[in-house]
């Protein structure tokens, strides 16, 4: 370990300890009468105002992994990686109206998870179970990826041991996180998010002004990057990428951005952040203010080109023996910044991993408790028993994620995250469309889910990754010519690429509509709707709102 790395590590540790202390103190921040209720532990008392929500949801959506992986994608492939910007720009106009309805109906009925809503809307515990399982399965690798982000920073600082011992620092960091989340619930990440975001904004602004100037300006950087990306990749025999989109990947770019935007607020952790807010006005204000993070993400993405031109090389992960392209931004910071500032930058990424990891584990724990434990194991669970169960589940979820990182190749987490986006998108009809209409029949939704899920997974399975020689799960870009329906190729010969999630969602919707038509013809029972039309418009101050944290 060099002197620089020691300075970096000291700065990192100081900030990390500060955040841990805040996490433990958070349980007393704006405390309600009890923490033994999911409204309090799992949703922070449902009373976060506009500022807290901005930091919380910002910390939740723009994760450490995003900040590390998006520039890494640009570093490796060029313009395609920039989809993160359109993704996070089209996101807010799309979700602006549905999210308010989700908040209102959840606030009226005390729903904690999206599966709670589906249960109430369709009176179907099977459909709710499918939604809950999809949510948990999609969230787990996401948590594991936060660890990958944290570990890439630790390895850059020279904490790069091999074998199990190499993962020890990560393990310690996660035990601390697990304990204060257990104690403080959603208030912990909400409070820590303030520090995380302040650090992130500081680092990005400095990086985006200082680094291009140091390396000859953007014009020079883009010229150099185009040349570097145009070189032939020896393993695939094609260019590495381009600073512009090519003829075949434009549809992929647009559908990936749109599909990711549609998927984001179906993830249980995003809903958790929204349900914790105090009123519809808080949500509306945030939909206007959250794009500030998109701007930061877009700027950060460009650092991938800066890294390419600066000659930074990804670090070889001692635990797997392969170069880890996710270390590229930390390496760039380590090389270009003075050690103390690099330490701050690393802390920003590291703490940036803790906030979403905490929220995700809380969201997964809420799903487990409300839609599986309470539904199938302990129907008469009291709110206190629910809270206890969720706290324990949050521990299990976190250690599950650590086990993932310890025993599974990080590449596998990345593959799973890719799958996660495709499968969570399959809950769109049951969760998002149901906010507006009950026209789709519950059996139509179940059938659509099965088909969308099965076909989506199958298509992902058929995609190879020529760059690393993997035959399956090599990406989410599917050549339209390879879309196969029991061996029939409707777009045979086409090399235009499209996002698998969009294809699977289309199949899901078609099946849902067809089965709905049959079910309506046959007059199958469509469950009881526990919600009223007016519930979807209710706002803070409405006398009919369900009381918070009532035992």
């Amino acid at each position: 370990m060099s002197t620089d790395q020691v300075v970096q590590l000291v700065v990192f540790l100081v900030l990390f300890v500060l955040v841990a202390v805040m996490g433990f103190m958070a349980s007393r921040w704006q405390a309600g009468s009890t923490l033994d209720h999911l409204d309090e532990w799992g949703l922070g008392g449902r009373k976060f105002g506009a500022w807290v929500t901005w930091f919380l949801v910002g910390g939740d959506l723009y994760t450490a992994y995003t900040f590390v992986a998006v520039p890494a994608l640009i570093f490796g492939a060029g313009a395609l990686g920039f989809y993160a910007l359109p993704y996070t720009v089209v996101l807010y106009p799309i979700i602006f109206l549905p999210l308010q309805r989700m908040w209102s109906v959840s606030r009226m009925h005390g729903y904690v998870t999206p599966a709670d809503f589906v249960r109430g809307r369709y009176g179907s515990s099977l459909l709710a179970l499918l939604i809950a399982i999809t949510g948990i399965v999609a969230t787990m690798p996401y948590i594991a990826l936060q660890l990958v982000g944290l570990e890439s920073v630790l390895r850059t600082m020279g904490v790069n041991g091999s074998g199990l011992l190499g993962h020890l620092p990560l393990f310690i960091a996660f035990v601390i996180l697990a304990v204060y989340t257990y104690q403080s619930g959603l208030r912990a990440p909400a409070l820590i998010a303030f520090v995380k975001d302040a650090l992130i904004y500081l680092v990005i602004i400095v990086a985006i002004i200082y680094l291009p100037a140091k390396l000859g300006g953007w014009g020079h950087i883009f010229d150099q990057a185009s040349t570097a990306l145009a070189k032939t990749n020896p393993t695939t025999g094609k260019p590495f990428g381009s600073t512009l989109l090519g003829p075949t990947n434009q549809l992929q770019y647009a559908t990936l951005a749109l599909g990711s935007a549609l998927a984001l607020f179906l993830y249980p952790h995003s809903i958790t952040g929204i349900l914790a807010s105090k009123s519809r006005t808080v949500i509306k204000k945030n939909m206007v203010a959250l794009p500030a993070y998109s701007l930061v993400l877009g700027l950060l993405a460009l650092l991938g080109y800066v890294a390419l031109v600066s000659g930074a090389k990804p670090i070889v992960n001692q635990a797997t023996g392969k170069p880890d392209s996710n270390t590229i931004v930390p390496v760039l910071f380590g090389q270009q910044f003075p050690a103390w500032f690099a330490g701050i930058a690393f802390a920003a990424i590291g703490i940036g991993a803790l906030v979403p990891a905490a929220i995700m584990s809380i969201a997964a724990a809420n799903l487990w408790t409300r839609n599986i434990y309470k539904e199938y194991f302990h129907r008469n669970a009291t709110p206190k028993q629910e809270a206890t169960q969720a706290k324990l589940a949050s521990l299990v979820v976190k250690f599950g994620a650590v086990a993932f990182v310890l025993f599974v190749d990080p590449q596998f987490s990345i593959d799973l995250q890719l799958i996660g986006g495709v499968i969570i998108l399959q809950t769109l009809p049951a969760v998002a469309i149901a906010l507006y209409t009950r026209w789709l029949h519950r059996w139509g939704l179940v059938a659509g889910w099965i088909v969308g899920m099965g076909w989506g997974l199958y298509l992902l399975y058929t995609i190879p990754n020529p760059a690393n020689g993997h035959l399956h799960f090599g990406g989410s870009a599917l050549a339209a010519g390879n879309i196969s329906l029991f061996g029939w190729h409707p777009f045979a010969g086409s090399t235009v690429q499209i996002y698998v999630g969009a294809v699977a969602l289309a199949a899901n919707l078609i099946i849902a509509v067809v089965v709905t038509l049959i079910a309506r013809q046959a007059k199958w029972f469509n469950g009881l709707d526990a919600t009223n039309k007016a519930d979807y418009d209710a706002d803070d101050g409405n006398p009919k709102l369900k009381e918070i944290a009532i035992h």
């Binding site: 720009v89 807010y92 512009l244 647009a254 877009g298 007016a534």
Partner: protein, 69 residues
């Protein structure tokens, strides 16, 4: 007890929410030039959509303030 407010009505200003989706039409901006501060058109055009999105959502929010409840 306050009386039940009337149901929310569709607000035509909501249509503004469709404008940012124009960003998904890649053939409109998949060019290198003209560059601004050295950034190819592809990048700065998309950055411009951040304020476009904020303005559209902001106007819809402002126009929804009259709604009761």
């Amino acid at each position: 007890m306050p009386s039940e407010p009337p149901p929310r009505r569709w607000n035509p200003w909501n249509l503004l929410l469709l404008v940012p989706l124009l960003m998904l039409i890649t053939p409109w901006y998949n060019f290198d030039g003209p560059r601004v501060f050295g950034l190819p058109f592809f990048y700065w055009y998309q950055f411009l959509f951040v304020p476009v999105g904020v303005i559209c959502v902001g106007v819809v929010y402002a126009k929804s303030k009259g709604e009761r409840r």
